[in-house]
Each structure stands twice: as structure tokens, then as C-alpha cells.
């Protein structure tokens, strides 16, 4: 067998692997969307879910998902950027830094159900809040923070060293250099990473089961007083998110149209995550173009 044949075989094997990957994705997406689109309509998205009758929607669950995501990001983004700056710019190479880095990696690879149990102990029981949006958001913060720290550290590190030197050589202090040169240059990377991790948080169920709970009080979307239990904005109310809803109807649902609700909710979830991904790519490239001045 000569080398040209070997080369051809190698090429076809890799093409095959790529095709398996893409094929799996498209089959899965196609299946979910095909079944989902049969269910999704405006009514499905805007009506309350039902406990035992047919024809319930996912209005509250959809809102809860976005709201929990928002609160989570409120915690993770500042903390994560701060941690990323520390790791990229201030941490001196050595044992302590290595230890912190190991901690971040372990934290990032913790199974989300374990994070959920931890959340139950600390944010639900120990604080005495019970199942609340806040508990859920804090559990998701534990789950998401290491990812954001990592993303920010990588984004800051990938800013060319020359830019930092240029700024320092102008007599600009370290902190000011970080603020005015490194962070703006790292911004597209940070933003892309944050949006991608948002997709992960949005779809997370296990960490929320025991923290944000499986129920939602009757929400009154005209009540914007965040301290009222019926207000959607109240962070001390339980909140069932979309992915938790999918899990719940499938495991304990007694509605006759379990299959339809699950199909529809799954499709909405997948579409949302897909939108996060596309948005991340699009924003990243727009900002990159604007900064590098290429057309």
C-alpha cells in the first residue's frame, strides 16, 4: 500500500468522523424541532401550564428561565471577570496559583446534581430561604463561575503582549492598563464566552431541582412589586424553569398531553440555546471587525 492510498484512507476516515458528528447533531435537532414545531404556537408560549388538564403552556417557565439566568449572570459576570483579571494579571506563577487553578478546574467539572445538593444544604436550608430564585441563581453561580473565570482569563491572556507593553511604556499604571487596554481588547472574547455559558445555564436542570424548586406560584404579570409573592420579579419565590419543567412533566406529569408539552418545551429550550450561540458568534465577529477596522 503506497503512501497516497494511506493518505486517502486517512482523509476518508476523518471525513467520516466529522459526518457522524454533524449527522448526530442534525438528526437530534431535526427530531426535536420537527416534533416541537407541531406544538409551539403563540398560545403555548403565553398560557399558564396546567396541572392535570390538556393544553397547558409554558409562559411562567419561560419567564423563570430567563429571570434565573439574568440573576445568575448578575452574580457571575462581575465575579468571573474579577477572578479572570486576577488569574491573568496578578497571580504570580507558583504553588498558590496552581492550587487556585486546580480548584477552578475541579469546580468546573463538578456534576451539576452535586452542585444542586450543595445548594440545597447552603442556599435553601442553611439560609432558611426555602426554594427560591435566589437559591437557584446562587447554585448556578457556583456551577457557572469557574467557566466564566476561565473564559475571562483566556480572553485577557490572548490580548497581544505588545499592547500591554505599549501602555506600560507610556507610563500608564497596571490597573489603568487593564481597564483601558486589556479589558476592551479582551471584550469580544469575554462576551462570547459569557453568552455561551449563558446557554449552558439556561438549559441546566439538575442544579435547580433542589434550589429553585419544581413549582411556581400564580404569577401576576401586572404586579411589578418585587416583594410580592405573586410578582414575577420576586427573587424569594420558587421558580420552575423550562428544563426543570421538561423533567417534571416527564417524570411526574399527570396531564394527558405530556408528550406534546415536553416536545414543545424542548424545542423552545433548544431554540433559545441555539440563539445564544448564534448571537455569541455574530456579536463576536461584529465587534472584532469594528475594532480591527477591517470591512
Amino acid at each position: 500500500m503506497n503512501s497516497r492510498v494511506t493518505d486517502k484512507i486517512a482523509t476518508s476516515i476523518f471525513v467520516l468522523f466529522a459526518a457522524i458528528m454533524a449527522g448526530t447533531l442534525f438528526a437530534l435537532l431535526g427530531y426535536i424541532l420537527y416534533h416541537g414545531f407541531a406544538v409551539i404556537d403563540l398560545d403555548f408560549l403565553t398560557s399558564n401550564s396546567s396541572s392535570f388538564r390538556e393544553g397547558g403552556g409554558i409562559k411562567n417557565q419561560l419567564f423563570n428561565s430567563f429571570y434565573v439566568l439574568f440573576i445568575t449572570m448578575l452574580f457571575t459576570v462581575p465575579l468571573g471577570i474579577g477572578g479572570g483579571i486576577y488569574m491573568a494579571e496578578y497571580a504570580k506563577p507558583g504553588k498558590v496559583t496552581d492550587f487556585i487553578r486546580t480548584c477552578i478546574e475541579v469546580l468546573a467539572s463538578l456534576p451539576s446534581i452535586v452542585v444542586g445538593m450543595f445548594g440545597l444544604l447552603v442556599f435553601v436550608a442553611w439560609t432558611g430561604w426555602g426554594y427560591t430564585i435566589l437559591s437557584g441563581a446562587l447554585a448556578l453561580t457556583v456551577f457557572n463561575l469557574p467557566v466564566i473565570v476561565r473564559v475571562c482569563e483566556d480572553a485577557i491572556r490572548s490580548v497581544p503582549r505588545e499592547l500591554k507593553e505599549a501602555s506600560l511604556a507610556l507610563g500608564v499604571t497596571h490597573w489603568h492598563t487593564i481597564k483601558t487596554v486589556l479589558l476592551p481588547a479582551a471584550f469580544p472574547g469575554i462576551l462570547t464566552g459569557v453568552i455561551l455559558s449563558a446557554g449552558r445555564v439556561f438549559g441546566e436542570a439538575a442544579a435547580l431541582l433542589f434550589t429553585a424548586g419544581l413549582t411556581t406560584p400564580n404569577l401576576d404579570f401586572t404586579n411589578w412589586n418585587p416583594f410580592n409573592i405573586h410578582s414575577p420579579l420576586n427573587i424569594f419565590r420558587p421558580a420552575e424553569t423550562l428544563s426543570v419543567h421538561i423533567w417534571k412533566v416527564n417524570t411526574q406529569g399527570i396531564i394527558p398531553d405530556v408528550r406534546e408539552v415536553a416536545d414543545g418545551a424542548s424545542a423552545v429550550l433548544v431554540i433559545s440555546v441555539l440563539i445564544f450561540n448564534l448571537l455569541a458568534r455574530w456579536l463576536g465577529s461584529v465587534i472584532h471587525k469594528r475594532m480591527s477596522g477591517s470591512k
Binding site: P160, E162, L163, K164, E165, A166, S167, L168, A169, L170, G171, V172, T173, H176, T180, V181, P184, A185, R290, M291, S292, G293, S294
Partner: protein
């Protein structure tokens, strides 16, 4: 403590030694750099010329694990003194790097960056500094209509001149140039050289170059470094016409390096 520094000397090195960890990179340097002249540092790769130029604005500290002994007198201040204020030193001793490194901001923002941070807030004053600096580097006519365009859209040669303008905008006394033309085409190189000759009327320039013709074309004095040592330093004409050390002669005639 400090040795007397003559009026025309901007920098004076006294027994300057530098180590990266165990590596003795600069050895017993004793020489001075004169005001409003161009001093070239030449030598083969790894001779310590880039290391040396980075000690003059203490950018060397960002290399980490650096130890120095001796004195670097900038006028009468010893830079190796712990009390030295990096911000004001670097405002007075600007630097241009090997690779043009404009910020991913507009042309205007690049030049105004330094002065803004050193406390100039008035728009009209900043406008004047930007214009003056860009005129100084002969870039004004090329970019005056698009000051808000991204700096990264400029050509390589223009970017390097922009970086020089950015360094000039803090009104330094000294300009350090670390192989400023090594990434440029011949025409842009000539422009930068002409610019250096123009700038030496107002600024003191220290230029590291691996291009001996460049050193011969632009500099008043040339220092030849080898393995971290200063082999000789004298008037450029004399160094190239009549080197006193055999190693200098071997290097400038192309026998090694």
C-alpha cells in the same frame, strides 16, 4: 552616592550588570548617552542590546526574575533606586517597539491615550497634542481626514509612525526605539530613519538595530555589544571606518553575527 553627570549626558551607566535568573545578560556596562543625539546599539542576536534598551525605562521589570546591580543615572536620578517613579520615568522616556503595536482604538485615541492618562482633559488641548504629534511623525496629512478611523486599518509603516506619535504625545525627553524598522518594508524604513534624523533636533534617541547600514546612516554614536558586554562605543563614522577592537571589525565586516 550618585556620580556627577555632565550636562550633555542624559543616561550614564555605572557598572551595570543584569541577570535573568542565573543568566548574566549584561556585564559591567560603563558608558553614557548624549543629549539630542542618536545612539545606535548594534550586535548579534542575544548580545543583550534589547535587554539593555529596556533597562532605560525599566520595562525590563515586566520580564520577571530580573536582578540588576550598578547604576543607571538618568540625569541625576539612579533608576535602580527603589523610590523611582515608573509613571514619570516612562512619561519622560518613551518607547517604540519592534512590531508596531497600536491599540485597537481610533487613530486619535491612540495618540491621545498617553496625555489623557497623564491628566490632560481639555478637548482642545488634546486636539493640539494629537495634531502636533502626528505632524512630528509626518503622518498628519495622511490621516487628518480620518482621525476616528481604527488605527489597525493603517499600513504597517503608518502604524509604526503612529506608535512613534503616541510615544511623543507624552512629551518625552528620550525616545527608545527597539528595532523599529525590522518588520517594515524598505520605503517605510527610510521614512522612519528620516523621521529619526528630524526628531533628534528635539529628542534624545536610543535605537537598537541589527541593521548595520541603518546604524551607519542615522546615528551619531554607535555602541557594539557582544555577549552582554560593551565592546566599544564611539562616533559612528569612526566605529565603522576604524574600529579599535578586532571583534567589532569582524562583526561590521560581516565575519559573524
Amino acid at each position: 552616592m550618585a556620580t556627577a553627570v555632565k550636562e550633555k549626558e542624559v543616561f550614564k551607566m555605572k557598572d551595570l550588570n543584569l541577570w535573568y535568573g542565573q543568566n548574566h545578560a549584561l556585564k559591567n556596562l560603563n558608558f553614557s548617552i548624549n543629549k539630542k543625539e542618536i545612539t545606535s546599539i548594534i550586535g548579534p542576536s542575544g548580545c543583550g542590546k534589547s535587554t539593555f534598551i529596556k533597562t532605560l525605562n525599566l520595562m525590563i521589570y515586566s520580564a520577571g526574575n530580573v536582578r540588576m546591580s550598578g547604576e543607571i543615572l538618568y540625569h541625576n536620578k539612579n533608576l535602580l533606586d527603589n523610590k523611582i517613579d515608573l509613571v514619570s520615568l516612562r512619561k519622560d522616556v518613551g518607547m517604540v517597539f519592534q512590531k508596531a503595536n497600536p491599540f485597537p482604538k481610533s487613530i486619535y485615541e491612540n495618540v491621545a491615550y498617553g496625555p489623557k492618562i497623564h491628566g490632560i482633559k481639555k478637548k482642545s488641548e488634546l486636539d493640539d497634542i494629537v495634531e502636533e504629534s502626528l505632524i512630528n511623525v509626518a503622518l498628519w496629512d495622511e490621516v487628518k481626514d480620518r482621525l476616528n478611523a481604527p488605527a489597525l486599518g493603517l499600513s504597517g509603516g503608518q502604524q509604526q509612525r503612529l506608535c512613534i506619535a503616541r510615544a511623543l504625545a507624552t512629551k518625552p525627553e528620550v525616545l527608545l526605539m527597539d528595532e523599529p524598522t525590522s518588520a517594515l518594508d524598505p520605503i517605510s524604513t527610510i521614512k522612519i530613519e528620516e523621521l529619526a534624523l528630524e526628531l533628534k533636533k528635539d529628542f534624545t534617541i536610543v535605537m537598537v538595530t541589527h541593521n548595520m547600514q541603518q546604524a551607519a546612516r542615522v546615528s551619531d554614536e554607535t555602541a557594539f555589544f557582544l555577549m552582554g558586554e560593551l565592546i566599544e562605543k564611539k562616533d559612528t563614522d569612526k566605529l565603522f571606518a576604524n574600529p579599535s577592537d578586532k571583534r567589532t571589525e569582524d562583526y561590521i565586516t560581516g565575519r559573524f553575527g
